[in-house]
């Protein structure tokens, strides 16, 4: 085929730049997510079996089964998960994303984000907060009770509140948050504040009891990462617009399941290219050490794939207090990512770099030629199920993902004319 790679990649970049992700509403996972069913568990990263799942992923599956009432105990859940009647599938293959373990089950409420430029929707669960939470593999009574409260109160209150407020354009909100020191992966303080500013008056107008409204607003207020579960589906919606363009070498997915890191390339459709997930280097909470850390996990690297997160760390110097490194490192991470990307975002600007657009459109060929791997910042889960988060830090994908993708690209496209 007479495909010019630069033209194919320009098409992909144009589609990403044109995307306008907005909050469409909140729905029930089993009702709105394509292909979702009662015995299916969605998870982060590339496809994986129960046998190969890491501790935090297994913990989240156990918690998900207990939350759904499909298992009454850890032992029952483990037996059920290993028995074959429960199916597992990556969020990315259902138009969604999940932070850390990313486990979602049929009854969970999900954000529905619509890209107004193409009408397609993406999905993500509602953020539970930090510490002992399902996405880090915790499944204690308090975790399950919080999930039930999210289903019975938080989701319904926000769903009704969204009918009382003006349309929330997530791209605009992320643009503002970058001017306020966020990079919307591990720092969502400003974005969460901007969101609550929009939602609070609408929450007050809902028909729920005052104590429920107060608890909803307090919950969002107490959780600086609440916006993460919106920045992720917003990024997914933007990148989804670049799927699948013949001959394009733009990376549309980077995600991890705690065992493997997987990428997908625009011109190679839905094929996964995987390698072992690496250990995250960073700052650990008191009482934990390197041996407690699980390898890299979560779909949140969708933010880096979209030029945010580790790619925009120069916009968020305060984040080094959470993930480690110096402010100079943060500046250099962003500068380096321009070497492996094809464009600069029209919307996301980085104040300390004289408002330069964030590095956008990871080009497989540039990653391989320059031998520079994408820079990701991320949370760290305990390697055992049931414990939760132990810190945050910095990590790269394994080079194998990109090398295998390049080989497949040559086999697929570089035919004799």
């Amino acid at each position: 085929m007479l495909i010019d790679i630069n033209e194919a990649n320009a098409r992909a970049i144009t589609a990403i730049q044109a995307a306008q992700p907005i909050i469409k509403g909140i729905g029930t996972c089993g009702e709105v997510v394509p292909g979702m069913k009662k015995n299916l568990i969605l998870h982060a990263g590339p496809p994986i079996t129960w046998e190969k799942m890491s501790g935090p992923m297994r913990g989240a599956v156990i918690g998900g089964l207990m939350y759904e009432g499909l298992a009454g105990s850890q032992e029952e859940a483990e037996k059920l998960a290993a028995g074959g009647s429960i199916e597992f599938s990556p969020w990315h293959e259902h138009d969604g994303v999940g932070p850390m373990a990313g486990v979602a089950t049929a009854s969970m409420p999900v954000w529905i984000v619509e890209n107004k430029s193409n009408g397609r929707c993406t999905f993500c669960t509602l953020n539970e907060g930090l510490g002992k939470v399902l996405r880090y593999g915790a499944f204690s009574k308090e975790v399950i009770e919080r999930l039930i409260w999210i289903e019975k109160v938080l989701g319904p209150v926000l769903k009704e509140a969204l009918t009382h407020c003006r349309e929330i354009n997530l791209k605009n909100m992320i643009t503002q948050a970058l001017q306020m020191g966020d990079e919307v992966h591990n720092r969502n303080k400003a974005a969460t504040s901007l969101l609550i500013r929009e939602l609070a008056p609408a929450v007050v107008k809902t028909s729920f009891k005052n104590e429920e409204k107060e608890k909803v607003l307090s919950f969002i207020h107490s959780n600086d990462h609440f916006f993460l579960n919106l920045s992720m589906p917003a990024c997914k919606a933007m990148l989804q617009a670049a799927e699948w363009i013949d001959g394009s070498t733009i990376v549309t997915t980077m995600s991890r399941n705690g065992t493997e890191f997987g990428i997908r390339i625009s011109g190679l459709k839905d094929r996964w290219f995987t390698g072992p997930a690496l250990i995250v280097k960073g700052l650990l909470f008191p009482g934990f050490n390197d041996e407690d850390c699980n390898p890299d996990i979560g779909d949140s690297a969708i933010t880096e794939t979209c030029g945010l997160g580790g790619f925009s760390m120069a916009a968020a110097p305060a984040i080094v207090k959470f993930v480690g490194g110096s402010v100079g490192d943060a500046m250099n991470f962003t500068r380096k990512m321009y070497e492996i990307t094809d464009a600069e975002s029209d919307s996301f600007h980085i104040p300390p770099l004289d408002f330069r657009g964030s590095p956008l459109g990871i080009n497989l060929l540039k990653v391989c030629e320059k031998n520079i791997l994408p820079q990701i910042n991320t949370g760290i889960a305990h390697r055992l199920p049931g414990v939760g988060q132990v810190g945050a830090g910095l990590v790269n994908p394994p080079a194998k993902c990109f090398e295998d993708a390049l080989e497949a690209y040559v086999e697929t496209w570089c035919k004799d004319l």
Binding site: L2, D4, I5, E369, L406, V410, C414
Partner: protein
């Protein structure tokens, strides 16, 4: 040989290509230098270099074929 000896009698200005620590050592000794951040393509990985070359050759053929149309 005499030309080489003359070089060291002048103020030395160095362009360092590749390994940063060479430039850092010169800086510590007060020698003027400019560092160029260069690495061999694909980090020297022959297999990846060969694959990238196939992509380049394919693109040259595409451009040639399009030019003929």
């Amino acid at each position: 040989m005499s030309d080489l000896n003359n070089i060291f009698k002048q103020t030395i200005k160095v362009i360092n290509i590749g390994i940063p620590s060479f430039a850092q050592d010169l800086t510590q000794q007060g020698i003027m230098n400019v560092h160029v951040d260069w690495r061999p393509p694909a980090g020297g990985n022959r297999k990846i270099q060969a694959l990238l070359e196939k992509v380049n050759q394919w693109q040259e053929k595409v451009r040639a074929a399009r030019g003929k149309k």
